[in-house]
């Protein structure tokens, strides 16, 4: 059974906000998911789901201070402080699966959150104001890549009357920028300790850094295995593992999940179990995917044999962290993002992914409202044209189902596949 059906069946058809705050919900959910272990194609996905339920339970039951963060903020800090991280953009995905998106988006519109804004944040706003999200004790947000996140999260912090800490990330990667970011990270860390009355635990902080490095190592192993031909995991399945990338670095559970995924991929590779019966083309996926039911991956992978062999979001762009210099190395990690600085850097990273994963073509999902990902595409297209790499810019919305046009999407995908196969 699909997790959302399961959730809905436990929470009742009319999803009540109260249900999210009841320990019974998580107990039942956990039991139900645990009992279904053998139905999961990937045990790592099963593990990830259980971990996510536990984390959601901790947040919704307020088992400690909940700190909201955007998906680009280095979460090692939050795990290192022992608070409960909560990423509203990621939670918006769950809201989509639960079918509460429409009402929440309506609420956001009523609160004047413009329809031109990214729907992840519109949805998060609606869910929060409708009482579906756990209230924050503090909010942290990094300014890099996305303009909406800091604006949206500051508004939420002001609404709840809790402190808001902005990590201001420049575009240069020089020593001055590194110092500037590192000092802020340190400042934010100790401001959180103070405002949330936390007990500073050096060992726990170190552990988060060590966990982050271990997760990175395992993710690199996963990525290396995904470079092999033919692919043994479909892009649709692999996409589910983006979550730890966006909200799980620093947690021991992410080490487990990536480790298990690497083992499973390795085994399947050795057993020559393929993602699809016949791999006809290999694709690279840029940005995120739509999270409501849609036929995109079905059409690409199962019907046409065009496997999404890698997604940009899983790219490991940073060097290992130095436990001796946690703030400096986290600053370096933040500044290493390939989406920062001139577009040429993202183009270069994407071309390197094309080579490493032997991709025959690229699909960029142009999520409406995400200016950071879409506005620079022209330069990417120019570079890809030069190398003769087919490119499709698929317009849509990751969480707002009302923007999904199945007919038009199919036509565009078919046109692209015709060119590719």
């Amino acid at each position: 059974m699909d997790i959302y059906q399961l959730l809905r069946s436990h929470l009742g058809n009319a999803l009540r906000q109260r249900a999210f705050k009841s320990p019974w919900t998580y107990r039942l959910l956990r039991q139900a998911v645990a009992a279904q272990k053998k139905h999961y194609t990937w045990q790592a996905a099963h593990r990830l789901l259980l971990n996510t339920i536990d984390q959601a339970a901790a947040a919704f039951l307020q088992k400690g201070p909940v700190v909201w963060h955007n998906v680009f903020f280095p979460t090692e800090i939050l795990y290192g402080l022992g608070v409960i991280p909560f990423a509203p953009e990621a939670a918006a995905v769950v809201a989509t699966g639960l079918g509460i998106a429409r009402g929440a988006l309506r609420r956001a519109e009523g609160d004047w959150v413009s329809g031109e804004a990214c729907s992840f944040h519109r949805l998060a706003h609606g869910c929060d104001r409708e009482g579906y999200f756990p209230p924050p004790g503090a909010v942290v947000c990094s300014s890099h890549l996305c303009d909406t996140a800091p604006q949206s999260l500051e508004t939420t912090a002001a609404y709840h009357g809790v402190p808001f800490y902005l990590l201001d990330v420049p575009h240069r990667q020089d020593a001055e920028a590194l110092n500037y970011v590192a000092r802020q990270l340190k400042g934010i860390t100790f401001s959180l300790v103070e405002s949330l009355r936390l007990v500073w635990d050096e060992d726990r902080f170190q552990e988060a850094i060590v966990n982050s490095n271990a997760a990175r190592e395992r993710l690199l192993a996963v990525n290396r295995l995904r470079q092999q031909r033919p692919a043994c995991i479909r892009g649709e399945e692999a996409h589910g593992f983006i979550y730890p990338m966006l909200a799980g670095f620093g947690a021991a559970t992410s080490v487990e999940v990536y480790g298990q995924l690497a083992d499973e991929l390795d085994r399947r590779n050795r057993e020559q179990r393929r993602a699809v019966p016949e791999e006809k083309a290999r694709l690279l996926w840029l940005h995120l995917r739509p999270y409501y039911p849609n036929a995109i991956f079905q059409l690409l992978e199962r019907e046409a044999g065009a496997v999404v062999v890698f997604e940009e979001m899983s790219h490991v762009y940073w060097e290992p962290l130095d436990p001796e210099k946690p703030f400096y190395s986290l600053a370096r990690k933040v500044l290493s993002h390939h989406g920062l600085a001139p577009m040429a850097r993202r183009v270069e990273a994407i071309l390197a992914m094309v080579d490493a994963y032997q991709a025959d073509g690229i699909i960029h999902f142009a999520h409406w409202g995400c200016r950071q990902s879409t506005a620079g595409l022209r330069l990417l297209q120019d570079a890809l044209r030069e190398r003769g790499i087919p490119f499709l810019n698929l317009e849509g919305d990751c969480v707002d189902q009302s923007k999904y046009a199945p007919g038009a999407t199919r036509t565009r995908l078919e046109g692209f596949l015709e060119m590719l196969l």
Binding site: D111, W112, V113, S114, E116, A117, C118, S143, C146, D147, T148, P150, Q151, S152, E154, T155, A158, F164, L166, D168, P170, H171, R172, E176, A177, N179, Y180, R183, Q184, G187, P342, M343, A366, W368, G369, R371, Q372, T374, A375, G376, L377, R378, L379
Partner: protein, 345 residues
Amino acid sequence: MGWLCHYTPVEIFTALGYTPYRLLGREGNNPRAATYLVGNLCPYVQSCLEAAIKQELPLLAGVVIARSCNAMIHLANVWPHYGAGGKTVVLDVPRRFDEDAVFYFSQNLRRLAAELAPPGERQLNEERLWAAITWWEEQRAAWRELLACRAAWEDPPGGKEIMDGLARWQTPLNPQEADKWETVITRLTRQPRVKTARRPRLLLAGSILPRELITMVEECGGLSVFEDSCNGMRLLLAPAARAEGDPYLYLARLYLGGPPCPRMVGDREKRRQYWAAAVDRFRIQGIIYHAMKFCDAAMYDYIALKVFSEKKGLPLLRLDGDFSGGNRGQWQTRLEAFLEMLGVE
């Protein structure tokens, strides 16, 4: 030397012998820019690129693009490929105002000066920079004085007149023209006032305010007495910041410590205080917010302003604009209804 964002310290240009020329966009659609950027990106940024592509800009030695928001970041990406000729220099501007940010920004400004320096001239002479700082501060002070008189006067110079003046002030074509400004500002201040019917005193806010909006507000019987925009009051910064021995630190503090723009998300409380002071001092009776299409900062700034105006019991009107000059039809009816509510017949 072209520039866009009001967080660009033009003093450095002046000290290096350039005439700072602000790119204020153009009226009309931007079909060519939209092929290099995407359709749902800030129309102001698009219109600056369109002006460059269509060669509507004067000959520029280069352009300094402050990476102040996502749209500007993307503009900085495409400008060297499709924009005007000359050099493209980018400047990172912090989104917070504290000692770390001031110090970091000052380092960026020092580098900016080095990057803009003509070949062979490695370091900008600090005396020249201080002289430029003084020159600009005198000009801004004169403008601030003129704009502040609207707080006390019943019949102050209209917003349109002032905004037109400010636009010309930001776009001189040579140093001589730039020098003449002090007299122009003084003249505007001394101009005899014509008594008009009592008009509601308005605060106009937004990221960058289009000329047509102010014109229309005043044609419909409103009086713009405070323009909280990066081509209005924010452009004039605030009276001199703390004394500094280092001109770059001085500039960093002056610019980051000025009236905060919607992008200064870590500084929103200061923005609320800024509105509160403006409302009291300028005896504001209503607020009009111009929400630039696809400006993420403006979208959320509006929400904060809405909360603020509700607390103050001040009527607020939001008008969305695409900077094309073609919004009259959409705005007129709503504007008339709003002003009627404020007592305009």
